[in-house]
């Protein structure tokens, strides 16, 4: 009952309007692990605690220094000398009492040595400022356990994120500009019956002016097809003629002047998109052709079982089309005509969903699972989003780093423009190399900067050589990365904090589409790029 909205509903109202109660539930059941409570780490966590994730655990073996307090909102000078995980957890916990905050005063390397399965419990592990060796070790453990891993780093004015997830399915991708599913090129039986009840040439003015544009286009298309050998308007000239054909249908007053019929204007405006052929999107076709879809086992997740069911539907009841989405846009019409038309679409969509449900039950039975394992509501939601299904797969870190499988093509083609954001990825790899060799990052101290520039250049060259990358990195970038001295400016950390948190929310909620697989932010130019490495 609306009047007794819970305080959580009130608090989370603005975000519930984006991911719904069911999305919020996934967040509240999630347990996030943050490794290293640097400014970047705490900023990420802040944007996960505020929206109400169930729990977080900070893993950090470091002791808080004065430098840490200088750029981290979730540390204060009382924290100096304390363990950083503990100090940060205290201040992060204050943000939201619904969230359970925990900390482990331990370095990730130690945990990997003694208890790697510690990490298996998490919905996602976010690793911030991890040295390369730790990152790869952790990456391997999480990859085997299929725990999503988000690697983040702020280095000077550069932000970096890498998502590592084997397979991430998205049913509710909420695309910004989705095309309507009206089927005007392949009208289904119930729709054809419905438009029979309309006789545009013999309607009174009020009804004529309040007939939905979908019906107008459908009726005129019927006439056109009968006069053009069943050929729908295809090129610009034909579509123009079709628009004119509709325009001639506008009622005229006794002086022969066309009346003001907004619904007809809507029909004319929508001809272009209305005549778009109903097609299964290539993204969905690709999913139909994938191994997971064609080989349903008892291990198959609900996503793949439902997708296979839709594929079966397409080849049977669907006659080559996906289940009908069932929604129509608002349009000029009187209430009754609109609602009746809307119901025609809704009823058909429900029928299609029922047919898909039968296929789901069949599939579940064939792998020895009870038919109720997948709820009718889930199937309906899946059908409604059939055109928008997405699957994101990211390569493992091992694949990215291995000489045998490094994505040379992506790197070299991006570096055709020597100032592309790819150069920052390469520089980050180079400074990691520098750290491995010298146990510190370049340029930490003023007196070292000049010397470090040549040392860093050696690292760059060895990196390019090891991967046989025949590209050139401008000296300016090597100089700039020494100048950064591994600084972590708060504003850059905060930008990454917002970005990474939302990607984590996407992973947890399975709504909206995560990036894949590398994101670079350049605060100098306020530009960014997504790379596939």
């Amino acid at each position: 009952m609306a009047a007794t909205r819970t305080s959580k509903e009130q608090k989370y109202d603005r975000q519930l309007r984006l991911w719904g109660d069911h999305g919020q539930e996934t967040l509240e059941n999630a347990h996030v692990c943050l490794i290293n409570a640097t400014a970047t780490g705490t900023e990420i966590l802040k944007n996960l605690v505020l929206p109400g994730i169930g729990a977080f655990t900070v893993v950090d073996g470091h002791t808080v220094t004065g430098e840490d307090v200088g750029n981290n909102f979730f540390l204060c000078n009382n924290s100096i000398g304390k363990n950083r995980a503990q100090a940060a957890t205290e201040l992060l916990q204050e943000l939201n009492s619904d969230v359970s905050g925990n900390f482990v005063e331990e370095s990730p390397d130690k945990l990997l040595d003694n208890d790697p399965e510690f990490f298996h419990r998490f919905s996602i592990v976010i690793g911030v400022h991890l040295p390369e060796s730790t990152c790869l070790r952790l990456g391997s453990v999480l990859w085997s356990a299929s725990v999503p891993f988000l690697v983040c780093k702020t280095y000077g004015l550069i932000g970096y994120m890498r998502l590592v997830v084997r397979e991430h399915t998205v049913i509710e991708s909420h695309p910004d500009n989705a095309l309507e599913d009206l089927r005007l090129d392949k009208p289904f039986g119930e729709f054809k019956n419905h438009i029979q009840s309309y006789d545009l040439d013999n309607m009174d003015k009020k009804d004529h002016s309040h007939t939905p544009w979908i019906i107008i286009v459908a009726k005129y298309l019927e006439k056109w097809l009968s006069e053009h050998n069943g050929q729908a308007p295809k090129n610009y000239k034909e579509k123009e003629a079709f628009r004119q054909f509709i325009r001639e249908g506008i009622l005229k007053n006794e002086n022969g002047v066309p009346e003001d019929e907004e619904n007809f204007e809507e029909a004319i405006k929508n001809v272009n998109t209305a005549l778009n052929p109903t097609k299964i999107p290539s993204t969905v076709e690709d999913l139909f052709n994938s191994e997971q879809c064609n080989n349903i086992t008892s291990q198959s997740t609900a996503f793949w079982v439902m997708l296979r069911a839709i594929k079966e539907f397409v080849h049977n009841e669907g006659n080559g089309s996906l289940p009908l989405r069932g929604t129509i846009p608002d349009m000029i019409a009187d209430s009754q005509k609109f609602v009746n038309l809307q119901n025609v679409y809704r009823t058909k969509a429900m029928q299609d969903a029922k047919a898909v449900l039968k296929h789901v039950e069949c599939l579940l039975k064939s792998v020895g699972k009870p038919p109720e394992s997948i709820s009718e509501n889930d199937i309906k939601l899946f059908c409604k989003n059939a055109s928008f299904l997405r699957v994101v797969r990211c390569r493992s870190l091992a694949e990215e780093y291995s000489v045998d499988s490094v994505n040379k093509d992506e790197i070299t083609s991006c570096m055709d423009s020597p100032d592309s954001e790819m150069v920052f990825y390469l520089m980050l790899r180079a400074v990691d190399r520098f750290f491995q060799q010298h146990s510190r990052y370049p340029g930490i101290y003023n007196y070292q900067v000049e010397e470090d520039i040549s040392k860093l250049k050696l690292c760059v060259n060895s990196l390019l050589q090891e991967y046989s990358l025949n590209i050139n990195i401008k000296d300016d970038y090597i100089h700039e990365f020494c100048r950064y001295g591994a600084a972590e400016p708060h504003t850059v950390a905060a930008f990454l904090g917002g970005s990474a948190a939302q990607e984590a929310i996407k992973i947890i909620s399975h709504q909206f589409v995560p990036f894949s697989n590398t994101f670079i932010y350049n605060a100098m130019s306020q530009t960014s790029a997504t790379l596939n490495l």
């Binding site: 609306a2 009047a3 909205r5 009130q10 608090k11 109202d13 603005r14 975000q15 309007r17 984006l18 802040k46 944007n47 505020l50 929206p51 109400g52 004065g66 430098e67 307090v69 200088g70 750029n71 909102f73 204050e94 939201n96 000077g156 695309p175 910004d176 608002d330 349009m331 019409a333 009187d334 209430s335 609602v339 809307q342 003023n446 900067v449 300016d476 970038y477 100089h479 700039e480 100048r483 950064y484 600084a487 400016p489 708060h490 504003t491 850059v492 930008f495 917002g498 970005s499 948190a501 939302q502 990607e503 909206f512 589409v513 894949s516 994101f519 100098m524 306020q526 960014s528 997504t530």
Partner: protein
């Protein structure tokens, strides 16, 4: 990002080393001590400015609501009802030693030039275009020109950020030099309201039923006496929710919920912590660049969207040659002398480049100031209403006549020049 406007001042040499500790500025000093290949050509490295931002004034007319807590991280449940500016100031002052935040529980319009003139940089996180245009106009009014040349020391940079759901933008405005808010007004599409006939007699969507309850039933039935709709009052929303449900069932429309009702009545825009964090960070980065001259600032508009992956687009918004706010060109009004004043009024409100809300038009006739039409004061509205039906000629206006137009969208009156077409 709190819906607050934060004028910031950087206090250069005055360093209060008493509150600093070892290593406090390590993450910042590297950018300020050393020149680099990408730093601003005018940048001069030094350790002088190593004091962070010392003095920040915050202006916000709002109090804290429980629905702010999902993203406005300076506020806690115990703060609900308190002024945002004051709570924000208290929090930052206690968390960041040496930084002084001065709160103002006021509207931005409550201050005049003497207030805004004191700042080095102004940052806005406003929640309406009207407010943005006002601030934009205020900073433009502070510009001084000598012999038509802009005095750079009169420029106060304006950094503006805004978000809606998973979308956001950040921009840097150098008033008088780069594109201002009004230069790019067409980037903001006008708010769409449902047509009255749909609401009154042909509802199709649950939203139409809700607007019926709000616009037609409420004024008629006055369920809580003479009070107007208060979107923050759950009883008001509940009443409209129930009326909307009744209307919906009359027309076989499904989908009316309490949440939808509140969303429509309050024109709620969804919001999350993450997008606001990204845009606030981008704005803060620009403040840092401008204050330190360490890097070339954003030139001048950043768009962000993380619905599908993360997308950013950075471009240079161009100045409009005849911008009604920042060009020195008097605005042209082309009308036949037989046009009615009503037509001029409609032009001022409907033209995409002007989008005024309730313009007040005055002019000088026979050496005396004459109000042609003004809406905001009831007695004057009634007195000048007949003018709307009179032609420009009948009102005594001549070709080339200057009209001064005042409106909420700008702190200064805009001068228009009448150009008779016939």
């Amino acid at each position: 990002m709190a819906d607050a406007e934060e004028p910031m001042a950087v206090d250069g040499g005055h360093r209060n080393s008493g509150c600093d500790w070892d290593g406090r500025w390590n993450h910042v000093r590297k950018f300020l001590e050393r020149p680099g290949p990408f730093t601003h050509p005018d940048f001069e490295p030094s350790t002088e400015a190593l004091s962070g931002f010392r003095l920040i004034h915050v202006v916000d007319m709002d109090t804290i609501d429980v629905s702010n807590l999902n993203r406005q991280f300076l506020f806690r449940p115990k703060d609900v009802g308190r002024p945002k500016a004051e709570v924000a100031a208290d929090f930052v002052n206690s968390r960041i030693p040496g930084c002084k935040v001065v709160p103002h529980f006021k509207k931005i319009q409550d201050f005049d030039e003497s207030f805004y003139r004191q700042f080095h940089i102004i940052v806005c996180g406003l929640d309406s275009i009207i407010a943005r245009r006002w601030m934009n106009g205020m900073l433009i009014s502070l510009l001084s020109y000598e012999d038509g040349i802009l005095d750079p020391s009169s420029i106060i940079p304006l950094i503006d950020g805004g978000t809606e759901g998973f979308k956001g933008n950040a921009r840097v405005i150098l008033p008088g030099m780069t594109a201002c808010i009004d230069c790019t007004l067409e980037l903001y599409p006008p708010q769409i309201n449902f047509p009255m006939c749909t609401i009154a007699s042909m509802p199709r969507l649950p939203e139409h039923c809700i607007e019926y309850a709000r616009i037609l039933q409420w004024p008629k039935e006055k369920p809580f006496g003479d009070t107007s709709v208060d979107g923050d009052n759950p009883e008001h929303i509940q009443w409209m929710f129930e009326r909307a449900q009744e209307r919906a069932s009359e027309f076989n429309i499904t989908g009316v919920t309490y949440r939808l009702t509140q969303g429509v009545v309050k024109r709620i825009i969804p919001a999350v912590a993450s997008t606001n964090a990204v845009i606030a960070a981008a704005c803060a980065t620009e403040v840092f660049k401008i204050a330190t001259s360490a890097y070339i600032p954003l030139n001048n508009y950043l768009v962000f969207n993380d619905v599908d992956g993360l997308y950013t687009y950075t471009f240079e918004a161009e100045r409009k040659e005849n911008c009604s706010a920042c060009s020195l060109v008097p605005q042209d009004l082309q009308f036949p002398s037989s046009a009615k004043l009503q037509e001029v009024l409609e032009y001022l409100t409907e033209n995409a480049a002007l989008q005024m809300k309730s313009p007040a038009i005055t002019t000088t006739l026979e050496g005396k100031n004459k109000t042609l039409y003004l809406q905001s004061v009831k007695s004057i509205e009634e007195r000048t209403r007949p003018n709307l039906c009179k032609t420009l000629k009948e009102l005594g206006l001549s070709d080339g006549q200057e009209l001064a137009v005042a409106d909420v969208t700008t702190p200064q009156t805009v001068l228009f020049k009448l150009n008779f077409t016939a």
